[in-house]
Structures are given as C-alpha cells and as structure tokens.
Symmetry: C2
Subunit: 661 residues, 2 copies
C-alpha cells in the first residue's frame, strides 16, 4: 500500500475526492501516509469549498450507529446473480439476496426448498444454470409510485426474470423466456405493475433453434415481452403474458411511460446496421465498429395497451408457448413506431411528469429530450418520414423533440429530482451532470466522480414523485480509491447530495461482490417486512404454511423400506432428534421446523460432507431429500452462531455401510 499511497498523492484530487475527505485519523496517530493525506485533505476541502461544518453535517447524515436509514437502495449484483439492499444515506450494505446463484448463508441451492426455485424453475438448455447476469431491478408500483411490495430482476445471460417478495426479501419465482436468448431492457414495470417489461438484446431465431449468421436479417429477431403480474398471487402469470416481435436490431434499455405517456413503453436500440460480427471473415471489423456506423438508431415507441387488445382479439401467434404479436401486425397497427435517436444510445428515461423521454447516446455528447405529445400527435395524424426495412413507420426526428442538451462525452443514463432537474451519468468525462428538463436553456452543472460512471440512481427517482435528496453514482472503476486487493477491483458507488444549490460528493462505497448495473432507491418506510414466520412451519419460498410441518412433540423418524422420513424441530440449542441412523443407500427426507418465534434467532443446519446447508429463520420450514450414499459418521450441527451453547447444538447422522453388522 505504500506504493498505492504514493500514486494516490500523485494524482491529487482524484485520490481524495469526497466532501468528507478528512485528516488521517481523528487522533492523529494514523501511520505512514498521514502527511500526504493531511495535505490532500486541505486541497480537496478548499477545492470543493467545504468547511469542517460541512463535514460535521455530512457525518451526522450517514455516520450514526443504530439510526435507521431513511431510504433503501435495491441494486442488481450484476454477474454475481444477487439483489443488494443498501441503506441510504449511510451507504451500508444490509443484505445480499440470493436470486440466480446458489448462496449457502441463506441456504439457497444447498439441498433445501430453495432448490426448487433456483434449479427447478426457469431452467433451459442442457447445462444446469447456476448464476445470472442481473442488470435492472424494478420495484413494484401503484399509481406510478413504489409500493414496497415486490422487486423484479432480470438475468441478461439467460433471458430470465425473478420475482422477489419484499416482505421477507426471498426469491419467489424465476421465469425463463423461451422466445429469446438474452435480455437487457429488463426489468421495467408499467405504473400499476400490470406488466413487467422484458426487452431483448442480442437477436436470435425466436423460440430458440439454429440459423446461420448469413440469415441474420431474415431469420434473427428480437422481442419485447410483457409479463402479466398477478399481485394477489405474487407471481408472474405466464399464460396471461404476451410479446411483440421486433426487428433484429440490438435493443438496449427500456422505460415505461407514466401520466402523460401512460400506456406506452420505450425501448432504444443499437446496431440498426444489422452487423452480426465478423462471422470469422478476415478483415471484417469487430462488432463494436460494425454496429456503430449509422448516425442514428431507432427509439422504439410501443403502444402496449393497443398491443394487449390486439392479442386479446387473437392477432397473436404462439411461439414456444408465448402469444407473440407478429412484427408485420405490430407495424401495420402502429403498435410499434420508430423515432430516430443518436447512435448507440444507452438510457431511455421518462420524466416524472411523463411528458418527455430522455435518450442518451454514448457516442453523442447530447441528451435528446423527446416530447410525448408531439410523438402521439404525429402517430395519430399518421404523419411519418418513412419506414425501416421491416415496414415499421419512422417519425421525423426534429418534429418529435423538445430539444437537446450538451452534457459531455459518453452520456449513459438519466434520473430525476423533485425540482425539474435531470441528472445524467457521463461515462467518458466521469461526471454527473445536472440540467433542467423543463428549461433546456439553463446551465449544466457537472460534478466529477471517480471513475467512469455507468448508471446513476436517485431517491424515488423513477416514480411520478421523486424524493430529490440524493443521487448515487454507480462507478465502474475504483483504482486509488481503496486499499488494493488484487487485479479484480471493487466497483465504487458515490453518494451525492443534490438537495442544495450545488451538488456535493459525500461518500465513496466499494462494492465488495458483483458489478451492479442499475438500482432503485425507495423510502424505507414503504417496507412492511415480516421478521418471524408465524405460526411456525412456513415454506419461505412459497410464503405458505406447510401442512404437517413438525411442531414440538411431533418429532419422529419414520422408516418404510429404503425411505426414511425424519420430522425434526429446532430451538436453542438443540435438534430433536439429534441422532439419525440410516443404512447406506437409504432415501432420506428431513422435515425441519425452526420453532423459534423470537426475532433474529436463526439457526443453521448441515450434514457434514453431504453438501447440505440450510438457513432456518424463526418459524421457517425446510425439507431436504437425498440418498445416503456415503457411509460413515457425519456430524450435523448449527451453522449460525445462535447462543452460548451454539457449539453444543449438534448431533450425529450415521450411515451404516452395506454388510455392516
């Protein structure tokens, strides 16, 4: 770290950038690099016009221990397959929720009932899927505001959607999309959570199957899927869902209209060049170049209410079990209309009032603000500039926009506050830029972030009533920000106070596991969580009480030939029964209830060398089936430190070998 400190000093501000960058150690005994940092601190505080009062104010905002955060940030874990819950403004990570990847602390994917969600639902192909590339969480909404009931999350790598119940932060459902092979414009919800929107990304033959890349234009397609959400059941209803066939452009991000744009969904795209990569042909440019030749790509404007009606009228055809509105129908009926957008866009973001759609083109220096009333008007009047090669009407670009705002190099994504401001992440400049989406002639304010921001997120930012106090920059690089722990760096979230006349960078937070893409921040008081499953015997993956879940006094071991059923209860600090003896080859089923009803009294359960680990929260029921195929003596014990006698919370699982006396 000495080397790192030297580098840090060398790059000046970048090494010590946030408002709270203080002296090295309150008690002044903070070791070798104290002098460097002390110098840097003064520079930084001066450069940012920060006084010790600012620091104190910042401290009171996010230091207090035991004070509950006002907001929770729900972020994807990227390729880790998790959903993260982060307190804001403290920027403490409260929980990693297992969604698409096995996670033994939560006992998800290690022999219990969670295996039915992880490995039972949403499997496709011949390899068992044990991870997901999560990108964009979407909180359920009522009337365009977060309602704190559910969050949805996508798996880009395998075109899947997960439903997480916010009562207990447990993954309830994973749905695979058999139409497409990858998604990206997912998940986004309509203002009443009627539908969870899943836009595709890399085209392929719809419904799977093979076609050569030479058939890319004719046989490859994309789709946007509208998953019907049954709020009462807390499940996606696959039979009530539908999709719309799209051209084989590479669709990117999506957003649902609200208020003035309610009933519409917006999807942007890149690679309108239809360039599928080099196809292994010498001298061909790579995809990144071949897909970046046109000056404009197409913003997809989708009338989902009309699409829903046409599907109900039987205009869809079924592909791989999903009702799909064909491209020609979508085009003819103007369910799908295109508007030119600056090349290779990333974010498409609807303003809180729904009157405008902000598109950021990564290879452009502007944000383009589209006027929904103009788009609607042109479509209603049938006034189009032409058609794309698949027969989709294309509107005239200048006639659709409110205007453009120059924000810098590589604008990616835009969020909003409660005062008519937009905040755009600018990747190449490494800044967050604040500008007015109501008065485009207002000056743009930029604040540097460290480094290379991807998405950003604002408190209640995707609703009809944003909170307007904080923005979090989700930065992709973090060199020199934290102690170096090898070639794989954490990402870096930076908390920005947007409540004042000038934006202020308050805090750096490393992401220790995973690479989040997008996040939403909700008022914590919208949550109504369950702390104990009551009465005991609940399957946390269905949320339902399990008939026959063992309770105190009903513990027993039942044998029927090769089948052994163990009915076990768990409470501080023992398992009943605590000794199980079976014969090699027996089919064992453990039925386990944690009969604790006190909060935070979780127990674990493992059988050594059987790759079983369960997390038994108070009142939870678990069930494990396995073949006792390894003979020997195996401790079973509590894997969650639960009491002073935790180590004594154990027993033996014995497997008598064939032929033993």
């Amino acid at each position: 770290m000495r080397a790192a400190s030297r580098r840090a000093a060398a790059i000046g501000l970048a090494a010590c950038a946030a408002s709270a960058c203080g002296q090295n150690g309150g008690n002044g005994r903070n070791g070798g690099n104290g002098v460097e940092d002390a110098a840097t601190v003064q520079e930084v505080m001066a450069a940012r016009g920060l006084s010790e009062e600012d620091l104190l104010a910042a401290a009171k905002t996010y230091l207090p221990s035991g004070k509950l955060d006002e907001y929770v940030m729900l972020t994807s874990g990227g390729q880790s397959g998790h959903l993260l819950v982060i307190g804001v403004p403290s920027m403490r990570i409260i929980k990693y929720v297992a969604v698409f990847s096995p996670e033994p602390w939560q006992g998800y994917g290690y022999g219990g009932l969670g295996d039915e969600v992880l490995y039972g639902q949403g499997q496709r192909g011949k390899k068992r899927l044990a991870w997901g590339d999560t990108h964009h969480p979407a909180l359920s909404e009522t009337g365009g505001d977060y309602d704190g009931e559910f969050v949805f999350l996508n798996d880009k790598a395998n075109a899947r959607i997960a439903v997480i119940d916010l009562r207990d932060f447990v993954t309830r459902q994973i749905v695979a999309n058999p139409l497409i092979v990858s998604n990206h414009g997912a998940t986004f919800v309509t203002p009443g959570t009627e539908y969870v929107v899943e836009g595709g990304q890399y085209p392929a033959p719809l419904g799977g199957g093979y076609a050569p890349l030479s058939a890319y234009e004719d046989e490859y397609r994309s789709a946007v899927t509208f998953w019907k959400f049954d709020r009462a059941k807390g499940r996606i209803d696959e039979d009530a869902s539908f999709a719309i066939e799209l051209p084989p452009y590479m669709q990117d991000l999506a957003d649902a209209g609200k208020l003035a744009s309610d009933g519409w969904v917006f999807l942007n795209s890149f690679n309108t060049e239809l360039y599928p990569g080099t196809r292994g042909i010498e001298g061909q440019p790579p995809l990144e170049s071949g897909a970046s030749q046109n000056d404009m790509d197409y913003l997809h404007v989708i009338d989902w209410r009309k699409a829903e009606r046409l599907v109900q009228e039987g205009r869809a055809r079924e592909i791989a079990g999903i009702r799909v509105l064909p491209l020609e129908v979508a085009a003819r009926e103007r369910v799908l209309t295109f508007v030119p957008e600056p090349k290779s866009p990333h974010g498409v973001d609807v303003t809180p009032d729904g009157t405008a759609i902000v598109v950021s083109g990564k290879l452009d220096t502007h944000c383009t603000i589209y006027e929904m009333s103009k788009i609607k008007d042109l479509i209603e009047r049938g006034q189009f500039a032409g058609k794309d090669r698949y027969g989709v009407d294309v509107l005239d670009f200048p006639s659709t926009i409110r205007g453009q705002v120059q924000v810098g190099l590589g604008p990616l994504h835009t969020v909003f506050d409660d005062k008519g401001n937009a905040y755009t992440s600018v990747f190449l400049d490494s800044t967050v830029n604040r500008w007015s989406y109501e008065r485009l002639d207002q000056p743009v304010e930029a604040i540097p972030v460290h480094y290379n921001v991807g998405h950003i997120t604002a408190v209640e930012g995707d609703t009809v009533s944003p909170g307007g106090r904080f923005v979090v920059a989700m930065n992709k690089l973090s060199q020199d920000r934290f102690v170096e722990v090898g070639p794989l760096y954490p990402q870096n979230f930076q908390l920005i106070d947007i409540s004042g006349p000038k934006m202020r960078l308050l805090y750096d937070m490393p992401l220790p596991l995973g690479e989040p893409h997008y996040a939403q921040i909700m008022r914590a008081d919208r949550l109504e969580t369950v702390q104990v499953y009551s009465p005991p015997g609940v399957n946390s993956y269905t949320g339902e009480l399990v008939p026959g879940a063992p309770t105190a006094g009903e513990e027993r071991i039942e044998r029927n030939g090769r089948k052994v059923d163990v009915y076990m209860t768990v409470i501080r600090s023992h398992y009943t029964p605590d000794t199980i003896e079976v014969n090699e080859g027996d089919e064992v089923t453990l039925h386990i209830t944690n009969i604790e009803q006190a909060t935070d009294q979780t127990h674990g359960f493992t059988v050594d060398m059987y790759n079983i680990n369960l997390s038994l929260e108070p009142g939870k029921y678990e069930e494990v089936r396995f073949i006792a195929d390894t003979p020997g003596v195996f401790p079973m014990y509590c894997t969650e430190f639960c009491s002073a006698l935790h180590l004594e919370m154990a027993g033996y699982f014995l497997v008598k070998p064939k032929g033993a006396r």
Copy 2:
C-alpha cells in the same frame, strides 16, 4: 419502517448506540423519524460523554472518501464460504473472496480454471462439495508478526483448509483432511508459519468409516493436524504434514504459543463427559446439557516440536495417508498434557509476550490466565495431579494459573493491545471488557455492544506486537440496528476506539452476506499486491504463466474431428474471434487471454445458456472445456461493464444441430 423507528425509540440507547449517533440528516430534511432520533442523539452523546468534536474526529477517522485505510480486516464469511476484506477504520467491505463456494463475479466455479481448485481439490464423500463453513482465518507470520503474504481459512463442515495468496487475493489450494470429519480449532499458524494448525471438533472414527455411537469412547477420536506450509511454493505440503491422535472430547479453539511459549500449541475442549447426544433414546438430555455436566474440561497443551521430532523418528503410524502420532505415544512422551479449564470454554488466547494463555469459559464468569512458565516447569518436573481416562497426564489447576479475572456472563474470546490490556467478548452481557493481563487486580472496564458479541479482533492483535488502536466486536444479533429486511438479519460489526483512557464505540457495520466467526486485522502497508498479470497469459489459480496462452495475432480456431480449440484474445471492446460455430456434440475448449495491461480493466466472458462465466482481469488466462450439447444460437458477451462500447463487446457462439444442412 415507521414501526421499526418506534421500536428503536422505545429501546432507547440500544437503538442508537454509537458515538457518532447524530441528527437525522445533515440538512435537517430527513423525514418522519427525525424528531425521535434527534432526541435519542442527545441522550446517547450525553450518556457516552461525547461532544460534536468527538463526532468530527470520528468522522475524519472513517468518512474520508479516497483515503486509503490504514488496516485491512480479513474475516471469514462463516457458512457463505468466503473470505472478506474490510478496510479499517472506514469499515468499508472491499472484497468478498471466493474460497469454498462458487462465485460468478470472480468466475470461480463457472467453467474456468478455478473449477480445478473448487471442484478438483479437497473433494471427499460422494456429493460434490460446493460450500464451506469458514471460521478462523490466519495470516501468515514471520517472527510472530503478520507478513502480508498468505491467509489460511478452514471449512468446519468438511474438515478442509484453504490457502489464499495475498498478492492477488486468489484461492490457490484447498486441502481436505481425510482423518477427521469436522474441524474448529483452525486455522492457526506457528510464529514462522512452519505449520498451519487444524484442530478437530466433533469426534468420529479416524480416517472415516462407520462405528455406532455405542462405541463412542473406544472407536471415536479427534486429532490435531499440523499442515506443513511450503512458503516458496505457496502451498501446503501434505506429505510433510502430520497429526496427533486425541481423545474423543470435542476440541474447540486453538492458538499457537509465541516467544515465551514458542514451540507449543494450545487447544481447549468441551464434552469431556463423552456424551454423544441422545442416540435417539427417550428421556436422554440433548447434547447441550449432556456435554455441560463437568465443572472442568481439559486445556490441551501440545509440544509440537517434540511431536515433529517423534514423527521424524518414525513413531507415527499412517492413517488415510497422514502420519499420525498415536494417543498413547503422545501421552507417554508428554507431547500432550492436560490442564483443567472452566467448563465449556471457547477462546484460548496467548498473550503477545507469550507468557500467558487466557481461557474463557462460556458457562463461567471468569477469564482464567495460565502461566506458561508454571506449566512448563510442572511438565519438566513430571509433577501431575493425575491422568484422564485415556492416560494423558493432567496438571493441578491452581498450580498452573496466574489468576482469574471476573468479566461477566459468557466470556468467549480475548484479544490484546500494546499496553498490556486484554479485551474479552462477553456474549450474554453483550459487552467488550478491557482488563490488564499483567496486573490482574486492575479494574475491568466494560462497553456495551449491540448485541451478543461472539469473537472480537484487535489491530495486529494476534502478533507479538499488537497495534492497539481499534477493536472490532463481531456481534451476532442486529435487530433494531438497521432497516429490517426480513427474518434473516445481518450480523453487526462494531468498531471500538481503544486508543484512549475510555473505550469508545465508533461505528456499526452490517454484514450483508455470511456470518463471520473470527477475523484478523493487519496493517495495510504489509500488503504487496499485483494489479496486473504481466506478461499476459497467467493462470491466476497457480500464479504461473501458461505456455501457449494466445496473444495478439495468434488468435485461431483449430478443429480435429469432434475437438474444437478456440484461441481467443480479449481487449476493449472486442473478442477475437467474435464468431464461433461448432457442431452439436463437439468438445469445445476455449483458451482466452485478456491482453489488457491497464489496471482495473477487467472483462467478463459468458456463453448464454451454457452456465459459463469468467472474470478476465488484465493479463489473465482462462480455459473452458465443455460439450456443445445444446444446439442453437448463443450470444457470448462481456459481463463486466468495461467501456462505452461494452454492450457491443459481444459475438455469437453457434451450435449447428445434428442433421442441419
């Protein structure tokens, strides 16, 4: 969360306990619970005698963004199977390192070379082990101080040890112990890292195999294993390692002597009652009671240098491939001696000067301080009070101790500072107690923690020269400390400033994933990490350059019958080649080099629906072998946001179905 806030207010100090507990929001616009909290703040600060200056000092200690932490805390992830790296004093989690569990962000266990470590090494039994119950990390030491080169970690559930290289924080080796079925007194190192010590916990027949519980006293045994560490190779040398057979007591924690106690290892134990659980017999007490009847258990005092010599002299017998010094030899030669210790102890901790060993009995209210010189003297003089039922000499308790200190209900574990103070975690009282191990008559100072502290750890605390600035309390419960996110709560680490005349609680940190047991805190400037693998083509799991790793210009696809070898390079923002077509059933091997040499320029690689995900840090080589058994069109793309053209960093993997033209 309103409910939670009400609860928080109701429980007063506990709800808002740390020094920095400030007003709700620096800008005073922090919503509904602002008033409650503001009230609580004043109470708390008054109660703790804290001024705003204290808060400011604390803020400067751990708020600064971009300031590098002076210390890194390496903690186990418990049943998550990870090692965590946490910056101290900022208490930011910098990295979760995958060790015993698959982790897709790091590309560990998802098709690449890491699979050889995770699934190739250290497997036992018939089920594939895909997790570990990590407890006690041990940093490598030179002369009794941390040297920053390696960290070792145990898996209690499957009796395994991992070696993690601190140059890049990658897991290099997993070793299974075929003698035993569970460990707990692991990992601990001798002062020169000659050996990594692994003490067992739940006894079973040595070397595996079956014996009924009725044979517990005669056929069940435990063992302590001394794994020889080859520092030059960075590997445990299994052939040069040995073990000592122990009675079937349940051994608990361990520590290695240093300075005055160099050459010795200490292991404590519980269940000297030899109670193996109810055996399913009605009316029998559970293990927790049956194992807690005796007033005293046995502290195991082990002369490891003598054991090493006896093993070299051929006094060991081989069991399951390990040289084991038989119990009768260990007893007769006084390699193993017992000292009575208060019932059901947990921590056994050697003081920095090595003169004393502190044992905490969970069911006792004291810490017992043993005097090494007295123990050595009695053993040398052959002066024993008796023998245990296995023929091991037992010393006279009063003759071995320096004294006892009353610390409260449920003392678990003790660490040390640079001023002759010991810090003991007291589980039932939920306090950390400071007392002098040099002058036992000094008063004991207690500071409350929230809630129920298990282990604690001090900066450089397990060395011959502790740092003496901070202690971290590793608390097991956290209700009311953070926004409630369901029945499974985070653990809570609390940072305590021990530099002043009174201990001060500075910060609460939730543990979002896993349940750590123990941690060590090291000066960050001891680390010498690698940020880029150079030259490109390094297998990060061996640390070696791979001959034939593809470099720029050498990319190609080679076909030999059913075997297809793809030699690929990766650099912003493309794969070469970016199109791969194979036939259904082909055996595909991808050889991939990330030829980037810039820090933090990591790329990912996935093939959709093939459950493959790699993390390609700069200069890293990866290799994936699989059967192309699912026909179709599968995007392959970069799963780590790497540039403005990240989404264009993609290509197609095509699998032509059998019989397709």
